[in-house]
Symmetry: C3
Subunit: 338 residues, 3 copies
Amino acid sequence: MPTGKWWGEHDGIDFPHVIMSQQFSREQLEVLFKLTTLLKGMLPKGMKVDWLRNYIISTLFYEPSTRTRFSFETAALRLGAGVISSENAAEFSSAIKGETLSDTIRIMSDKADLIVLRHKRNDAALEAAKVSGSSPIINGGSGTLQHPTQALLDVFTIQEHFGKVEGLKVAMVGDLKRGRTVMSLAYLLSKYKGVEITFVAPPIAQMTVDIKDHLDEYKVKWNEEEDFLKVAAKSDVVYMTRYQLERAESTEEKEQLKKAAESHIMNRTVANAMPENSIIMHPLPRVEEIRWSVDSNPRAKYFEQAKNGDYVRMALLLMILNQDKTQELISLPIKKAA
Amino acid sequence: MPTGKWWGEHDGIDFPHVIMSQQFSREQLEVLFKLTTLLKGMLPKGMKVDWLRNYIISTLFYEPSTRTRFSFETAALRLGAGVISSENAAEFSSAIKGETLSDTIRIMSDKADLIVLRHKRNDAALEAAKVSGSSPIINGGSGTLQHPTQALLDVFTIQEHFGKVEGLKVAMVGDLKRGRTVMSLAYLLSKYKGVEITFVAPPIAQMTVDIKDHLDEYKVKWNEEEDFLKVAAKSDVVYMTRYQLERAESTEEKEQLKKAAESHIMNRTVANAMPENSIIMHPLPRVEEIRWSVDSNPRAKYFEQAKNGDYVRMALLLMILNQDKTQELISLPIKKAA
Amino acid sequence: MPTGKWWGEHDGIDFPHVIMSQQFSREQLEVLFKLTTLLKGMLPKGMKVDWLRNYIISTLFYEPSTRTRFSFETAALRLGAGVISSENAAEFSSAIKGETLSDTIRIMSDKADLIVLRHKRNDAALEAAKVSGSSPIINGGSGTLQHPTQALLDVFTIQEHFGKVEGLKVAMVGDLKRGRTVMSLAYLLSKYKGVEITFVAPPIAQMTVDIKDHLDEYKVKWNEEEDFLKVAAKSDVVYMTRYQLERAESTEEKEQLKKAAESHIMNRTVANAMPENSIIMHPLPRVEEIRWSVDSNPRAKYFEQAKNGDYVRMALLLMILNQDKTQELISLPIKKAA
């Protein structure tokens, strides 16, 4: 396992494993975001470097996700690494023969220098990190709770736009109960002073008690609201989420969620009611919770946000696998992307 | 979006997007085919160059096709590009969660420098081109109508063999109604003077009116025949196609197609009845419409044709992504492949 | 097709095709294993060379196997080759449209410089080798009988540990009837003098007559036993296998196999009864036939064995595709991996 000056244990996880968003210290976040900004300036499309040329990165996806997989693979390739990839490990790997995840990871960690794991189980990434030996694990989404690289790119996007995170008013809207992205994001936002979070969701989809307890512990102000327009009008960030019908536990619940999905829609009226310098975010994919007409609104930030994901993941890979280059880069003055 | 001297709008499509076979001007085809011939001479198996080393090419296949995907990926790798690949995006991507193709392409186009898209819908590639920003789209097969790179490799194969396309007699045989390759080919052939096309198919599988109207408009002589042996005996090119049972709309239609499939078989008798310098083509995969015994006939060109596909795709990628190298190469004298 | 001094026909197969374990001569095995040892010393994780930089290797898997595919792809990437990959060719390729394997291979062999094929049919690799032209085929597992690279890595692991294979006592345990790995291994072991094999399995899963006849022909001593503990106590190698319930031909047989699976378990008691310098092997994946508590026993060799697979495959690829480098390397003195 590589070691580095920015690493160490936080909340029980040893970076360079990336298991949960709350594991990151503010110092680690600062290094990561500075590196992200630099890479975004240096590596537009059509550019490639060889800083990870000796490494093989494995994307081991037990839950298919072309978008997240492509983001990690793009990051790896633009930095010169090789990629071994499984789109659908749940069906195509030995899992189907009854092999445990631990056995799979022990074997894969002899092949890949770093493993990006996406899995249905909440504890999958943590379990993998325990047996992966010298290969760091990056959680590419696990179960219903964590999607740490999503949270990192979310916070980076906020900081890039506002120049800070402290003191911002953030509204989270939609299926908060089933959305691991908003949970990971809430954990990460709790590291910044003065952030205020408003949860806008029907009761069937409201944020879980776990997260609210965590926010209380970290003295983050939060409240619940039903009136979307009113909340939007005074938020710096409106973070929309999709109703995850496929995670419903019964046909009845699915129907209720479908109906709830109609209650909080980001349309032109809501978007225009938002403050001038505010932004609309979404982890994507969206279905109908953000109307297409909003895409051209200057507040719409969700495609830029997705693009930032590629650079945050590049920065993470570089920070983990090539510390010399990381150190060299973060000593440079920042040049903004065009 | 890159721009180049051979590019521009034809039939409503701006090259470097490659959406439909008829979009190509004769000048573009000449550059492309000259480049293809050069690359075929310079890049046999076991050879690689780095002319696209800074680029990432995505193969985004909503309809699985190992052959076409491997052809594009081989082309990309031999030119030094990186590849991010989805074998089965219809099941493994956010499409399953209700995301629109436009949203997917907007996100993917921030990752890949060029996207090869294969999709069930006829208008998929065109829709993608509208939102893909600076990343060109290549249609790797869409719906029932278009498979432009197949048509390009078909015409290249004809020109490579005969030294010209003008004035040739081409027979298209089999399931013409469901075959997007013959449709794309017919569009492309209409650009060459004096080509005569004979459609040989049972009524249930005959060529569509759209194509016939197009040929009429471009003053291409065409006719329909049932007597395969008679047609074969006076054709320069016999282009066989597979009966696409999987595209049948009912069990009844499927049964009728199965029966029709037995009516026009390329066997040793038909092959030997063809003129000496004629060729037999097929987009592959074949089932039984060309007998194995024909493979050793000197007229059998279908495996060479498939191989040409790799080089046409290489030429297309190079022409789109590296114009300086393209310009340098097409100024060279042609050295034929061994 | 490349040719080389270590190649030639053995048992009807021309190396560099790798079709069945018994095709290898002792001289070929010695070159391969020396090369494997060298590469294991030279190419730990985080290291890459460019000795195959001009080549494209295709992993064409009709039976999904993330582990074996990743092993070949890791080997290819660490040596600098490009990879085109299909996780599930049975569903995603033209096989589903009725194309023959021969046609597929003829086409793929124009794209890839070497094809790794995994297939359900016993004769698939041999059939592929007949039509693949200048592209060598490596059998990545075919049907119920052969998995030659597994056998190679097994014998390499034995030789690495004991410094020799001759004269060792090997117990094969579990579902021997359905296990292609033990069959391939038995064939390969028959090339070494004085090896004694004991088959430990319930009648429903005992080794096939074919293999026993082969061993008789090559004068390899073998016998069948039921008392696992007694056999383990006097074996140098205990090779465990998984009961392949998914290959059962009826629900009844499946139930019988499930029951049989409980009869020969490698647990702490059995492991500790084994001789001091003995080893426990398993092709993996395991289910419950080796208890987790055995993993920390110094005799447990199965994860090292899996890791050796990556290096044996690297050695095979290099030996086939770059003989100059192979020759140069095997002239070097061996430096053991740490």
